[in-house]
Each structure stands twice: as structure tokens, then as C-alpha cells.
């Protein structure tokens, strides 16, 4: 079956050779170039083998409408976002399907402020794409492509300016990083080793885009990392996704602590050391994060799922920290985007300042456990299932901001359609793992039977 091209707020995504073709990439690049106007557009990609091919198509599309491609090469998505903001480019295009499997690839569009296009701006871009009436440049107006070689350096400089690098370096942490054959394979060792002074072991370090690990940094995918942590006697294990925006953590005993904890650590530490302020998280984020923030006397707002929704609300509120339950930490003082490198620096700084181990810090977090399920379901069936669920639990006054979010005394359940795949995602939280699993299974069965 032909996989549909998914066009949404997070860009355009498809299966390579099926719905994601050079033609689609070139046309979207033309639309984007026409949208942002003639000038520099920074293009970056992850390690997927289709990345270079799509980069060629994007370059042709940008040049044809008079934009000057600046090629950042294989860089973390957050580095690309920062480079756009810092170099005065008209915008950027990230060629990455992030945590999706290697058969996927995607274009994500970056506005000149270094953030992904807002939903309203993304709609305008799509409108231009459908009109297909781009003003093509004449031969004499065609710009040449150039390289942008310092995007990662700029990124490290920003993180180093924010974090207490001296304290981290003093501890000479032993760290294992599972870079998932992604952008981290080229950059994470230098960041942890040279910038933060750690002794680094890399897992899945071939920058091949052939993922030796499931690209979502979920606990069940981190066996190799955990083994390496134990073998190296490391202080901590980090797991990145292929484009370097999300981070999961394993403790010093080689046990994954759940990606919610990444954000909980960051929120706790930022509020304790950088001053208090509003915190913004998405609907699916653990109550642990919420309780950590409230304990520090800071207000918490929940938004729809999607980095752009969280980042926009953070800007509105002047939030100091926020992010997503999937290991996406946003610290606006560095840059208002999810960044695994900022998250790594903050976590190591927390270890350095407190002198505690990861497992001890984990034990200090409010005890909640999250369980997740994923049901393949097309859009119409998913909409019907969500409507049925909403009626059945009307007395619990579900939050309908994004799918159906139902609160219970000891936790919640969140059921929604994915932005990126034809699936329904069920996330359940409770005080214990078994209760969370039980709740996720119950709602999963309800949805499947609807």
C-alpha cells in the first residue's frame, strides 16, 4: 500500500521512494523559498541515506526560486534552528524524520526566528504549495550553494554559556551515549568529551542512518546502552533520537529511568538554579513534572502535543523551562527548541551540584509511572473512537484540547491521533507501573473495541 504523504504542522513526511520523492521535496522547497523570499536558507539533515538525495532536490528547488542554499550538512536539528536565528537567514529546512523508522524521511520548515513554522504560517506555506505558481528566477538571478560549517560550534558555544561547565568538567563523569546511528554519531562525543570533559563511550556510533536500535528512545529499546553503562561503570547513560532533539536517561546501575524523568530533572534544576518562572508542558507529560514545578511555587500550563505548541505557549508566558514527555527539553535561555545537548548539560550539572547519583535523584521525584500503547487506525476510525470515548467519560469532564485527556485521582489517560503516523496513541499514568499498564491496556481495549 502506498503510504500517504503526511503534511502537518511538523512539516511534510513520507516513506522514501513511495510518497517522499525528490519531486515532492523540490516542490516543497520551492514553495518554502517563495514563502520566505529570496535570501539565504539553511539546509541540514540527519544521517538517513535518503538525506543526501533529498538535500539535492531541496537545493534545486530553493535555487530555482532565487534562494541561496547554505548547507549545514549532518547536524542536530537544534543546531540548525539556532543557526537560522543567528545568521540572519530567511529560514531553514531540516531533512529528518526524527524518531520515525529509517524508511521515512521528512522536511521540517524553520522560520527566520529559528523556530518551526507556527501552525498559521504552516497553513500559508501549504496554500502556496498547492497553488504551485512560484515565481521562478531567471538564470542570471540563480544563487550558488555554499557551506555553513559552524552550526554545531555555535550550538556548543550557546550551551556552554548557559551551563556550569566548570562544575561538570571537575567531576570528569564517565558517560555512555547511545546516538542511534544518527547525528549524534558525528557530534556527541566531541560535545561530551571536549566541551564537558567527560570520559565517553559511544553506542550505535556508525553515522549510517541504518538504525541498529529502534529510534524512539523508549526504555525497552535501550538494552545496549544499559549493558554499556554497566560494563563501563558509568555515572549515566544518555540515549538520543536520530536528529538529536530528544533525550532519555539510564541510571548508574544501567536501568532506564523513563523519558519523562529527563524533563523532570531539567525542570527541577532550572527552577532551583536559574530562578523561578512559568513552566509549560504538553498534555501527555507526567504529573511528576507538574508536581516538581508546583513544589517550587511555579505555575504549570499544559498544551497540545507538538513542539511548536509548547514553544509558542512558552513564548506567550515567558516560561523558563518546559518541554514534552518524550524527552524533549526546552530551555529558552539557550534556544526555544527541544535540545538533547542542553538536556545532557543540565542533567550532568544537576549531578555535579547535588553530588547525588542518577538513581538517587530519580527516587526523589514524585512516584508516577507511565505506560504507552499504539493502535494502528485510520483517521476516520480514530475520530469515531475518540468521539465514543469522550461520550462514555463525559461525567469526568475530559480535556479535549488534543484528543481526549481524562484525569483520575492517581493519574490520567490521554488518547489522541498521532500527528505523524496513522495510529492512535494511548498514554496512561498512575502511581505504580502495574496500575499504569493496567490503565493503558484497559483504554487500549476500549478503543480497539469501539
Amino acid at each position: 500500500m502506498k503510504e500517504a504523504l503526511k503534511v502537518g504542522i511538523s512539516g511534510v513526511r513520507g516513506v522514501v521512494g513511495d510518497s517522499m520523492t525528490p519531486r515532492v521535496a523540490a516542490s516543497f522547497a520551492q514553495a518554502f523559498g517563495a514563502f520566505v523570499g529570496r535570501g539565504a536558507v539553511i539546509v541540514g539533515r540527519d544521517t538517513r541515506p535518503s538525506g543526501r538525495m533529498l538535500e539535492r532536490a531541496v537545493v534545486a528547488g530553493l535555487q530555482s526560486v532565487g534562494c541561496r542554499p547554505r548547507l549545514a550538512g549532518v547536524v542536530p536539528t537544534p543546531s540548525l534552528l539556532m543557526a537560522v536565528a543567528e545568521t540572519g537567514a530567511r529560514g531553514g529546512i531540516a531533512i529528518t524524520a526524527s524518531h520515525n523508522g529509517e524508511e521515512w524521511n521528512a522536511l521540517k520548515f524553520v522560520d527566520r526566528d529559528g523556530q518551526f513554522l507556527s501552525p498559521a504560517r504552516a497553513d500559508e506555506l501549504l496554500d502556496l504549495y498547492h497553488q504551485r505558481d512560484f515565481a521562478l528566477a531567471a538564470e542570471s538571478e540563480l544563487p550558488t550553494e555554499t557551506a555553513l560549517s559552524d552550526a554545531v560550534e555555535r550550538h556548543w558555544t550557546k550551551v556552554a554559556a548557559f551551563a556550569d561547565v566548570a562544575a561538570i568538567r571537575r567531576r570528569r563523569f564517565r558517560v555512555v551515549a547511545d546516538v542511534c546511528n544518527g547525528v549524534g554519531a558525528l557530534h556527541t562525543e566531541s560535545f561530551l568529551g571536549e566541551t564537558l570533559g567527560c570520559a565517553v563511550t559511544i553506542v550505535h556510533g556508525a553515522p549510517s542512518g541504518r538504525f541498529e536500535r529502534d529510534p524512539e528512545p523508549l526504555p525497552q529499546h535501550l538494552d545496549a546502552l544499559c549493558r554499556a553503562v554497566r560494563a563501563a561503570g558509568a555515572d549515566i547513560g544518555f540515549a538520543q533520537d536520530p536528529d538529536g532533539d530528544r533525550l532519555a536517561i539510564a541510571d548508574e546501575r544501567g536501568a532506564p529511568i523513563g523519558e519523562d524523568c529527563t524533563l523532570a530533572f531539567a525542570v527541577r534544576h532550572v527552577l532551583a538554579t536559574r530562578g523561578r518562572g512559568p513552566v509549560v508542558i504538553n498534555l501527555s507529560t507526567s504529573r511528576a513534572v507538574e508536581e516538581v514545578a508546583r513544589a517550587a511555587g511555579c505555575p504549570v500550563t499544559r498544551t497540545r502535543i507538538g513542539e511548536i505548541h509548547v514553544a509558542a505557549e512558552m513564548r506567550r508566558q515567558g516560561a523558563v523551562v518546559g518541554g514534552e514527555s518524550n524527552g524533549g527539553v526546552i530551555v529558552p535561555a539557550v534556544h526555544p527548541c527541544r535540545d538533547s545537548y542542553t538536556a545532557m548539560a543540565l542533567t550532568l550539572e544537576l549531578l555535579a551540584h547535588t553530588g547525588r547519583t542518577v538513581s538517587e535523584l530519580r527516587a526523589e521525584l514524585p512516584a508516577y509511572r507511565v505506560a504507552r500503547r499504539k493502535l494502528p487506525m485510520d483517521a476516520a476510525a480514530a475520530a469515531a473512537a475518540l468521539r465514543a470515548l469522550r461520550r462514555r467519560y463525559a461525567d469526568r469532564r475530559p480535556n479535549l484540547l488534543d484528543g481526549v485527556f481524562i484525569e483520575f485521582d492517581d493519574g490520567w489517560v490521554h488518547v489522541r491521533r498521532s500527528n505523524t503516523e496513522p495510529v492512535v496513541r494511548i498514554t496512561a499514568e498512575a502511581r505504580t507501573e502495574s496500575a499504569a499498564e493496567e490503565r493503558a491496556s484497559r483504554f487500549s481495549a476500549e478503543i480497539a473495541g469501539a
Binding site: A26, A57, A60, T144
Partner: protein, 453 residues
């Protein structure tokens, strides 16, 4: 004006109007389907749009799983030579050739280095029109890697095929104009190889065209003055892909581009007799030269693809066109500027005569080339009107190989719709310039299009 010209060996258009990334992506994808993901070469000229079109073509080749070897900025004939040398299944050349600024083209090359065979080209066109492209999945995306060491084997082979020692012994000074195109960076290695003191005008690669890139006497005048001033043995004027060449004599006379093929044919046939291929509007001097050597002459429609196709079919020793092109199958299946320049120097070295003297031994005709602007489709109607007039006049011979050609005792006249521009082209040749012009003017009146240049 939407101007896209598709054929079974390439696509040509105006950048920003008809030649868009989409067209190139689709055309390259259709070609990739033909070569089924095998090794493909790609190269481009220096024009401002060539890098953009190159990026689009590479994307499609990679998407189709081809192993793409990128020769970078490289003359089309050098790319063609490299196809069999590097064991490739084909190649894409991106070059505006002799066309003015704003035009560009993709030329498809077959496994033997010649323009794609017509039957294979039709398969590409069918896929292009049907939009039937074979995309590979993410695991079988092809790689694209640069290749830089292709010039040496090319010059090695060229050196083996000519009397290189005789050329070197002359230590001749020449002046050449590669129009800031793909040949620029290869002039010095060529000159060193053959011991030639070569001065290049427009010798730095540029994204814009320093002059009209068609090798014609009117575009050779600045060079002609330099040749005489420096005491050069000859001047050579090229198109931006190095596929066409015209000559300037040591006396500073710019020669008709028709004489390039005539001179080389006369030189080559004396040493290696055999069949010759020319297009149907090449100077009659070729007919005379071939007859003198007892060589059969085969006529084809206009274009490298047709000429090379006939060279293959007839096992010819030489082919070419009056527009200043020669293919020598002993070396490659390309219209090749370095080859032509080297053969001319060989001819001078072995003959021991200056160019102007050597030319006296060639039959000379006066040739007049005109073109008249017309709307899309109007050209074909104009040619129908000419046909009606010819049927009344009944010239000794009427030929329809490509457009219409009428032959008379003292010359001939030819009309055809351009494949690249909305124009009708008229060529008239006769013993005297007056007779050639009169016949061209009469033809233009018959066309009844108005305008002209």
C-alpha cells in the same frame, strides 16, 4: 514564452520558464529507469543555472538507486569519452552548448558514449510522459561521489590517436576562446600534452556568457585580431560545452564554421578512407571532398544524435555537421572540440603549410544562414507553403530528411523548424554569395512569416 524541447536524447528549455527543477527531476528519473540503477556519470558546464539543474538530476539518479559519479564541471565530449572508460551505463550532460544565455539542456548519453540510441530514448520519453518512475526504498538509495581523475586518460587516448610528435615539433602558438565554459580548466593540460603555446581568451570559467556562444565568424572577430597580432598559427572558437568549433586563419580571417568539418574530413579521409556521415544541411564541400576520396557520404537529420546513430550504423570513419562539429569514432562517439583542435594542428603539422594555404586545396562555397521568428506551430505551416512553391518550381532534387532541401546545379537551399527556438532556419549555399542570398531571400518570401534576422 513557454519553450520546452523534448526529444529522445535530451530536453532543452529556457531556465525559469520551461526548464524547471520538476522537468529535470522527471526527465532524469525517466532516464534512471532505463539504466535500472546502474552506474551513471554526470557533468555540467559553468552556466549560472547548471548547478541547480545538476542538483535536481543527481536527486533523481540517487532516488532511483543509481551509483552516480559526478565529474563536476567537464566538457560534454570529455564526459562522453569517460562513459565507456568508467564502465557506466550512461550519462547526463548538463550544458547550454551553443545556445544563448538563459537556455540550458540535459543531454542523455548511452553506454558507448554517444547520444542515447533512438529506441532507448523513446523508452525514456514514454516513462517521462507517463510519469512512471521507479523510486527505490530508503535502503537502496544510490550514492553520488565526485570523480576528478578523468582528464588524463582522455588526453592519453587522444595522444595515442594522433601524430603527437609532429604537433609537438611545431611548437606552434595558437589562440583559443572557450567562452568561459566547461573547457577552460582543461586548456593548460591539453596544451602541455601537445607542446602547444596556447593563449586562451575568455579562459576563466564564468557563470555568464562572455560572448554569443555559437562558433560563427561574427563571434570570432575579437579573437581574429589577436591571432594576427601574436603571430598565431590559428585561432579556435568554441561553444560552452566544447561540442562546436570554428577557425581563424593565421592571417586573422574568421572562417565559416562549415569549414571545420570540411578541413578535418579532407585531412582524415586522405589517411583513412571510409564512409562519412553529415547532416542534410552541411556544405556541399563535404560532398566534393568525399567524392574526391571515393568515400560514401551518408546524410542524416540535424543533430548529434542522428549523426552518431548513422556513424554506428554505417561503421563510418568520420561524422559531423556544418555547424562546426566532428565525431571521430576511432576516438569517441562525441562531437569533440579538443579532438577537432588537435586534428587541425595535426593536419597543419603533417602538411607543412599555413592554414590559409591549406584551405586553398578545399572546395569553397558561399553559405548564408538566416532565421525567422514565428509563433509555435507557425513554422510548420510556413514550411508547407515553401513545399507548395517547390512543387511549382520543380528543382532538380527535393529532399525531406529534415525539413526541406532543394538542390540545384550550383548549390542548395534548406529550411527547417528549429528544435530549440520558435524560429525557422534557412540555409542557402551557392558558388557566389549573391546567388546564395537571392535563394535565401526568395525562400523567406515564400514562408510569408514577416520579420526575420
Amino acid at each position: 514564452m513557454k519553450t520546452l524541447r523534448l526529444s529522445n536524447f535530451g530536453v532543452r528549455g529556457f531556465v525559469g520558464e520551461s526548464l524547471t527543477p520538476e522537468t529535470v527531476l522527471d526527465f532524469a528519473a525517466a532516464f534512471a529507469g532505463l539504466v535500472e540503477g546502474r552506474r551513471v556519470l554526470i557533468a555540467r558546464d559553468t552556466r549560472g543555472s547548471s548547478a541547480m539543474l545538476h542538483a535536481a538530476a543527481v536527486a533523481s539518479l540517487m532516488a532511483a538507486g543509481c551509483e552516480t559519479l559526478d565529474l563536476g564541471i567537464c566538457p560534454t565530449p570529455m564526459l562522453q569519452f569517460s562513459v565507456p572508460a568508467l564502465g557506466a551505463a550512461g550519462a547526463i550532460a548538463i550544458s547550454g552548448g551553443h545556445h544563448p544565455s538563459g537556455w540550458n539542456a540535459l543531454l542523455l548519453i548511452g553506454p558507448d558514449g554517444g547520444p542515447l540510441e533512438p529506441a532507448a530514448g523513446e523508452q525514456v520519453l514514454d516513462a517521462f510522459h507517463a510519469g512512471a518512475f521507479a523510486g527505490r526504498d530508503a535502503r537502496s538509495i544510490g550514492e553520488c561521489r565526485p570523480v576528478r581523475d578523468y582528464a588524463e586518460p582522455y588526453f592519453d587516448a587522444l595522444e595515442r590517436r594522433v601524430a603527437a610528435d609532429a604537433i609537438r615539433a611545431e611548437r606552434g602558438r595558437i589562440v583559443l576562446d572557450p567562452v568561459g565554459g566547461a573547457g577552460c580548466d582543461f586548456v593548460t593540460p591539453w596544451a602541455r600534452r601537445f607542446g602547444v603555446d596556447a593563449l586562451a581568451v575568455n579562459g576563466e570559467p564564468t557563470a555568464y556568457l562572455a560572448r554569443d556562444p555559437e562558433p560563427r565568424p561574427r563571434n570570432a572577430r575579437p579573437l581574429a585580431a589577436i591571432v594576427r597580432a601574436l603571430g598565431g598559427r590559428a585561432g579556435f572558437v568554441f561553444s560552452s560545452d566544447l561540442g562546436r568549433m570554428s577557425l581563424v586563419t593565421e592571417a586573422g580571417e574568421p572562417l565559416s564554421e562549415e569549414l571545420t568539418f570540411a578541413l578535418i574530413a579532407d585531412h582524415v579521409l586522405r589517411r583513412r578512407p571510409g564512409a562519412v556521415v553529415a547532416n542534410c544541411c552541411t556544405t556541399r564541400a563535404l560532398d566534393d571532398i568525399a567524392a574526391r576520396q571515393g568515400a560514401p557520404l551518408v546524410k542524416t537529420p540535424v543533430g548529434q544524435a542522428y549523426v552518431v546513430s548513422a556513424v554506428r550504423d554505417e561503421d563510418a570513419v568520420l561524422g559531423g555537421e556544418g555547424s562546426g562539429s566532428v565525431v571521430w569514432p576511432a576516438f569517441s562517439l562525441a562531437f569533440d572540440g579538443f579532438l577537432m583542435m588537435t586534428l587541425v594542428l595535426e593536419c597543419l603539422a603533417l602538411g607543412g603549410q599555413p592554414l590559409s594555404v591549406r584551405l586553398r586545396g578545399l572546395p569553397r562555397y558561399e553559405i548564408v544562414k538566416r532565421s525567422v521568428a514565428c509563433g509555435p506551430g507557425e513554422g510548420y505551416r510556413a514550411i508547407e507553403r515553401v513545399r507548395a512553391e517547390f512543387e511549382r518550381e520543380r528543382p532538380p532534387r527535393l529532399d525531406e530528411t529534415d525539413g526541406l532541401r532543394a538542390d540545384y546545379d550550383d548549390g542548395w537551399v534548406h529550411v527547417r523548424a528549429s528544435r530549440t527556438e520558435p524560429r525557422v532556419r534557412v540555409i542557402s549555399e551557392a558558388r557566389t554569395r549573391a546567388a546564395a542570398e537571392a535563394r535565401a531571400e526568395r525562400m523567406i518570401r515564400w514562408m510569408a512569416l514577416g520579420g526575420g534576422s
